[in-house]
């Protein structure tokens, strides 16, 4: 897997975790069942997100910020050839390729980075 893609996946997972603490049922469960100090946890996650973002190369960082501002999610899975950002079928198969995530690629339709799920 491309190292920058791995970093993008980690960032996206952290952002999902952060969103879960913001409102609704996720917040209720984390605070009620797991006794999480929600404010402290959200700040801790934000700090980690900022730290990981530092690991993005400068061109990647600027593209990451641009995509996030315009589209929200920066990296999306591709499942059965469908981009889960824009739900359009895209060509992902490359002959002889063992790890389809070795290269860092984007959806040709929506521009989000893609992670090809087996």
């Amino acid at each position: 897997m491309h190292p920058q893609l791995m970093l993008l996946l980690e960032l996206q997972d952290l952002r999902a975790q952060h969103r879960e603490l913001e409102e609704g049922a996720g917040l209720d469960i984390e605070a009620g069942t797991f006794n999480i100090d929600v404010e402290r946890a959200a700040a801790q996650l934000q700090e980690k997100i900022a730290e990981l973002e530092e690991g993005l190369s400068p061109p990647m960082r600027s593209r990451y910020e641009r995509v996030m501002q315009s589209l929200g999610r920066v990296v999306v899975p591709v499942i059965n050839g469908v981009c889960y950002g824009c739900f359009v079928s895209i060509a992902t198969a490359r002959a002889g390729e063992q790890d389809p995530n070795q290269a860092l690629t984007s959806c040709e339709h929506c521009g989000r980075f893609i992670y090809i799920l087996p």
Partner: protein
């Protein structure tokens, strides 16, 4: 959705071997049979969740959980460590039973939080911790889910 329908025998391990929190998380993740890179990412995400506060909810039960892009649908696993392990649980007691829940960031069926809630509810049933200690097969675990989380 019944909890029983979300588990299969191959994601149940009644004899987890690890002695540490990290080791147990890795063993649980391995039940999902992901590729190596996905396992590594998932481990980091679960660890980061644990760093916010333990998912050990007391009475010997922990529910490590997170959303992650490395899965394409809701995935669950159950593991038991008969000797127990220090998981920094809320009550400070060892944890014996582990329910792993992982969901993609976006789910069409939106099951993640309801399932998390259902497992927490199942775990809070006063007889469940003891019954979990007694089960001798994956099928018995599935039957207990059927009985206690209809």
């Amino acid at each position: 959705m019944k909890l029983r329908e979300l588990f299969t025998a191959n994601v149940v391990s009644l004899d987890l071997e690890s002695e540490t929190k990290d080791g147990l998380l890795k063993e649980l993740i391995s039940l999902l049979q992901l590729d190596e890179k996905s396992e590594a990412i998932l481990f980091k995400t679960l660890k980061r969740r644990e760093n916010l506060g333990s998912t050990g909810i007391g009475k010997g039960i922990a529910i490590p959980h997170c959303r992650s892009l490395v899965v394409n649908r809701l995935r669950l696993a159950y593991g038991r460590k008969p000797a127990g392990v220090d998981f920094k649980a809320i009550d400070g007691q060892p944890v014996y039973n582990f329910f792993l829940i992982v969901a993609p960031p976006l789910e069409v069926s939106n099951q993640y939080l309801p399932v998390l809630g259902k497992i927490a509810q199942f775990a809070k049933d006063p007889v469940v911790p003891e019954r979990l200690q007694e089960i001798e097969s994956a099928d018995a675990f599935l039957a207990l889910l059927e009985e206690k989380a209809p």
